[in-house]
Symmetry: C2
Subunit: 476 residues, 2 copies
């Protein structure tokens, strides 16, 4: 047997250290076509028998670069074919999704990618999803977290294993990837994200890291060591906090948890902070917008000893009364956001949950129906609108009669057809009058209030992004 | 009463939050003459009655910039006089000390400064030593620690209180210092360290931070928040580790500690790492050169299950045998370094403990005695040297007959006269023959082997720095 490339050695070492795979399992490998993921799928393929695993390739066409993106997809397809690995490719219009949701390109891409990978893994029965993140990605992630604002948890960077996700190349440097590709005579596509210089990650790679290497040539190593130390610290403290959280819990309902106030106050500061985060987490799965200040302010109020009410981000209410403190969410379990707003006509109606403002304008003449490039504007026949106009979030069972069609269609199917990820569906405003759905912002327009030759008064609706986006800012 | 400047408000707030002073106490304020320390001493003076404290000013003349340093001292003297605060000023030749000890300018200055402040505080009976570090210094410290290599402890930055040391301006930004000085009509000297562009700290201030502010304009705030979070995490975990360390200790002697091996292995990784550091600390006070790799390698050996011996930096030996693991230091308590090396004549003798190489050369002719500007070279009369030449560290009771003097003098008094800090004395090589001390490297030359007109063979000794200095690199 030939001597193995150090990339393969490092991969095997990490796979074993973290028990990333078990014999008989199917591993779905996410392949963008960039050097890292090409090396990952090839290296896993070379040791597939030794590990006793079956491979599957998944590629998401983000549509960021038009034809180039399509070429990436073709490239991945032939790579998988050449290794006789089955391959799933899906195309999503991320740029459009991104605009609709007011997410950064990076966040939108990540959201859509993870949803696609998880769904695919479920369909094909894969136990694991392998991602091609390298040690260099880890260094960049840790620095990015420091810059955005982070505590010990963020310094830990990406974990080698989280749920189904595994990162077998996390011990491998990019230089090793390059030498592996060369040795194996493999080519790779240029990583699309490298072409988006506004990404913080790329600025870190191209400007910040070179400067830091002047200060300390071993900066990559010390950052990786910091991540390793922080990961153990963070795991230990979160486990402690989790135990303490259970002990302090007096009552726990769907969307509400009650803790013992005196006990909470008596905790060590580091654990107290984490128990608060744990409490918020228990009533709301995503706590990415829970910042340092929110927690500190809440703890400050708690320390004063009086009773109080305090609102945390995204509708988590805290009520402190006598011996207990209650964290309550307005949301139900599977419908993380519920809202319904009457739309002012004419006027402006902010839909905070969707991060948009609906501008309604009445125009006393016939207008041509427009459809803005990203579907954020519609013109309706005002006289066909019945009763009050409202904006609300999507509900199962919703139906729409699409523009130009006779029958109606389930909104669920529309979302599926348009590949709109499940997780983002609840953020999209559905505009309806007293009877029917007229418009799903950025997604579909109904036939029922369309402008015709006989239209006399028009209603122009526009969805305009409001307030700086908070989804991307992750403090603590 | 006038409204107070926010600098004073912030200072009072921090002093109270951390109980930095108590009524009746004397506080020694370290004043360099730079804006921060001038603002500190003035603000403390303005609230001295409210806090019930007595102030004292201390200034160390580092001699880094010759006459300018003397002017700093004069400036501090008049500032203290104008506020009627007693003032202690001392002058130390740090540049010389630095070369002698192979320390960076920054480390040497810090070492000497802390020793001076502690001694002065003891002499005048000050309960506290106040330093002028600001929030901006904190941000730079955290970034510097990240760059040099650090775990959670280093991310915590400078603590507001540690022993006698207090930092009342740690919540204050430099911009507030400037506005306070202006408001009070105070002037300040340009901070000397700002004139040394090779300091990592200054590069961080002048180049790195401006770049990071482009990525996140609130970078200073998120770094301060990170420090705050890390401080609580670090305090909690170190307290846990300390408890566990006591529990695991089977035996504890001067310079040796024995732990239960099985129990150590059973600990959570984060605590296991800290218990190892605690064990090393218990046999050696300074663990700044104990790096990430040392701890990881030791834990790796431990996990293999076999018996082993392992050497940690600076003479700490680890022996693992059956159920126990022993950490042993070669050093005694108050003499942290003991060494004695025979000097090769002619030849080169490395003195690792002092970071120098002693080069000995025999010259068969009469040479003029030279004294290099920093006393790192001497020329002796070889025929007056009796027996073997050795280099060893200083011992209490050592005496020398200084060049040009008849009687002898205690080395201890020589060190005191020359203001050589206690902590660095044991690093300085003392060169003696079979009978007498001939040279204390960089400090003093003896009369007994001096070159005279009748000298026929000369011995030239030179102390040359060796190997990159490790005192400055602090990993983990």
């Amino acid at each position: 047997m030939n001597e193995r490339h150090r990339l393969v050695e490092s991969l095997l070492c990490l796979v074993r250290e973290y028990s990333m795979t078990a014999p008989g399992e199917t591993v779905l490998v996410a392949v963008s076509g960039g050097p890292d993921s090409v090396a990952l799928v090839h290296a896993l393929w070379s040791v597939r028998e030794e590990l006793g695993i079956t491979l599957y390739v998944a590629h998401l066409n983000h549509s960021f670069r038009g034809e180039e993106s399509d070429n990436d997809a073709r490239f991945v397809w032939s790579l998988a074919s050449s290794l006789s690995i089955p391959c799933v490719i899906e195309k999503v219009d991320v740029p459009r999704m991104r605009q609709m949701l007011r997410l950064s390109a990076e966040s939108a891409a990540r959201l859509v990618r993870y949803e696609f990978l998880e769904n695919t893994a479920e369909k094909i029965g894969a136990a694991r999803i392998a991602l091609g993140h390298t040690a260099d990605d880890q260094v960049e992630t840790v620095l990015m977290n420091i810059i955005r604002g982070s505590g010990t948890d963020g310094l830990a960077g990406m974990p080698p294993v989280r749920g189904k996700i595994i990162r077998p190349l996390l011990g491998v440097r990019r230089t090793d990837v390059a030498s592996y590709l060369q040795e194996q005579g493999l080519s790779a596509r240029i990583d699309e994200t490298n072409l988006l210089p506004h990404f913080t990650r790329n600025r870190i790679r191209l400007r910040l890291l070179p400067m830091l290497r002047e200060y300390n040539p071993g900066i990559d190593t010390v950052i990786l060591q910091l991540a390793e130390l922080a990961r153990a610290d963070s795991a230990y403290m979160n486990a402690e906090a989790s135990k303490v959280f259970k002990r302090l819990t007096i009552a726990c309902d769907t969307g509400a948890v009650t803790l013992d106030r005196g006990e909470l106050l008596g905790l060590d500061l580091a654990i107290r902070r984490r128990v608060v985060r744990e409490a918020v987490k228990s009533v709301r799965s995503d706590i990415s917008d829970l910042g340092f200040r929110h927690v500190e302010d809440l703890l400050g109020l708690l320390a004063t000893g009086g009773d109080f009410r305090y609102e945390l981000p995204a509708g988590v209410f805290v009520e402190c009364e006598r011996g207990s403190i209650v964290f309550r969410s307005e949301r139900q379990r599977d419908v993380p956001i519920i809202y319904k707003y009457e739309i002012a006509v004419p006027g402006e109606t902010p839909i905070g949950e969707a991060g948009v403002l609906i501008k309604a304008e009445v125009i006393e003449s016939h207008l041509e129906p427009v459809r803005s490039p990203d579907d954020t504007e519609v013109i309706l026949d005002l006289d066909k609108v019945k009763g009050t106009l409202v904006a609300r979030n999507w509900q199962p069972g919703d139906r729409i009669q699409p523009l130009g069609m006779k029958g109606s269609k389930k909104l669920q199917d529309v979302f599926t057809d348009r590949k709109i990820p499940r997780r983002v569906r609840h953020r999209i405003p559905v505009i309806q009058d007293g009877e029917r759905i007229l418009w799903v912002v950025g997604v579909i327009i109904s036939d029922v209030a369309k402008v015709t030759d006989s239209t006399q008064r028009c209603l122009r609706l526009r969805a305009v992004p409001v307030s700086p986006c908070s989804y991307d800012r992750k403090v603590v």
